[in-house]
Amino acid sequence: MAFNVLIVDDQNISRSLFESYVQSDPGYRLIKALDSARVADAYVLSTRIDLVIMDVVMSDGSNGLDAAEKIKKAKPDCKVIIVTSMPEVSYLARAREIGVDSFWYKETRQISFVDVLNRTMAGEHVYPSSTPLVRLGNCVSTELTDRELEILRYLTTGVSNQEIADMMNISVHTVKVHVAHLLEKTGFANRTRLAIEARITGLVISE
């Protein structure tokens, strides 16, 4: 019996690619391809869906991880593969937390999507060992601590040190120390430059 698949990706080209993978294999049947994660859970609840291929960042503001969380809560048996090209460090951890079955980086050459698809439906959890390495100034992403990445995420929204401190429940002095460490490690002259570069690389994406 073929597995019913729901594809959720806002990009025509990506969505078409996934559709072609699914349709070229008789073991899978495409139920629907959506361009928004907003209503993915409605399809899962009302139709027998065995697998959801879900992108993360959508142009309408909906978030694939949020939708995946709702789907896993409502239908834990429904498998979810998260696909993204963004190396945002928190996606991998959050996906594991939600219970997403597999995770695939679109840029990766280490494993093909078809491989991930088949192994997931066979009951495996296919996750990359780490997020893609991203160069940020003079350092790479693995050289930054979790706290520094969290502060970097807030920096990209343009908020002040006081606002960051309030949101993270830490002192302003601590925020300043972390920002100083970030600037030292990356070699950027100021926080604005750092924030712009971090955002462009996709290393941190604020909600």
């Binding site: 990009q11 907003r38 609840l45 709702k70 090209s85 840029e107």
Partner: protein
Amino acid sequence: MTKFIDLNWNIQTLILIWNLLLLLVSIYVLVRFSWIGTGKLLKVSQVVIIGSSFFLLMVLTDAVRFRFKGDILNYVPLRLTFEIPWIAAVLALAVISAGLSFTLFMLKIWGDKNPTPFTIKESLDSLSVGVCFHSFRKVKLINHAMESFLTVLTGHPQPDLYRLFMYVKNTYPDMIVPLDDGRVIMFSEKQLMTGKTPVYELTAQEITEEYAVSKELEAQNEKIRLMNERLQELNENITVLTTQSEILSAKAKLHNDLGALSLAARMYMEQDPKDPRRTRDELLSMWIQTYDILESQTSREKAADEFKVIFGAAEDIGFGIHLEGELPGDKTARKILSTAMHECMVNGIRHGCAKNLAVKVEGDWYSTKFTLTNDGKTPESDIRETGGLLHLKELVQDRGGLMETISRPAVTVSITLPIGSVPED
């Protein structure tokens, strides 16, 4: 020194006690009072004057004691005065000093209570802040600093102050005036009431350094503000960048696939027709698929309308959404209503096997109301606002609205949003 140990309570004893008191008072006056000026010479002269005054008083009162003793001629200081003239001179000096110190002391007290205009002017002139007291354009009192500022500003040390103040107020609303000589002055005026006639106090303070620092800070803050604006703009547009990045990635993959297809086509044409490894139909299917994908990239990507997405999904899954009223135009209200419709639809399907959702939109000049009711099973217990409903409630409350969830007879979510206080995003 005169001997004075006599403990009988007579006049002599009283005089002795008086001398002791004088001694104590003189020490106190020396320590406590600072008279005119603070120079060391003045201090020394004050010590001499006070010391000699009290010494004379002690000698005189001691002489009286000897007089009562009836032995005035044996009083040493008196005898010495007649026998040694320079002691007489010292005593005379002591008398003069006493008189002088008393006069100065009284003058000081009087001076403190009655400052003269010259005193006030002198003290004002020593200030670096410009001060001027005027009444109806007449200058009552002006100090050197103010005259200097006004000369640089107007060319005249005492211009028409009313006109000057109006000019400054109109030209420099923050009352900060840059002078031609590079200095920056901050003016302020306040009204003082003295009797029936109002007197105005005009002050001018030089703030050149502080002004330069504040301008520098202003410029830096403006720079930071612009940077933050750009950063926020970048943040909002980053999804576009993400999109482009993903499209590029997919295109790269497609081009690789095209390369592989070309090779496969070549192999097909070179293969032995009796032992084909790939059929023509297989190849054609792969080519068509790849070109279909390439063609899809030419269609423009647009962010989907939130209601179109929900209505489309409902139609796909066979769920009925029945709308009564008009969809709101306000961006915030649209977001809230679309979220509410999604939550009610999904919860209705999940918990109550609902098939339909009635959405009523009403409004008047001060509020908009959304009422959403699904036809699912009546819940056994009251609905708790958690997860998606909680998020919806937070959205509503952030916008100053109210949300109510009713469990019976049918699950109904009611949202009221005030108009006017709902800010646009």
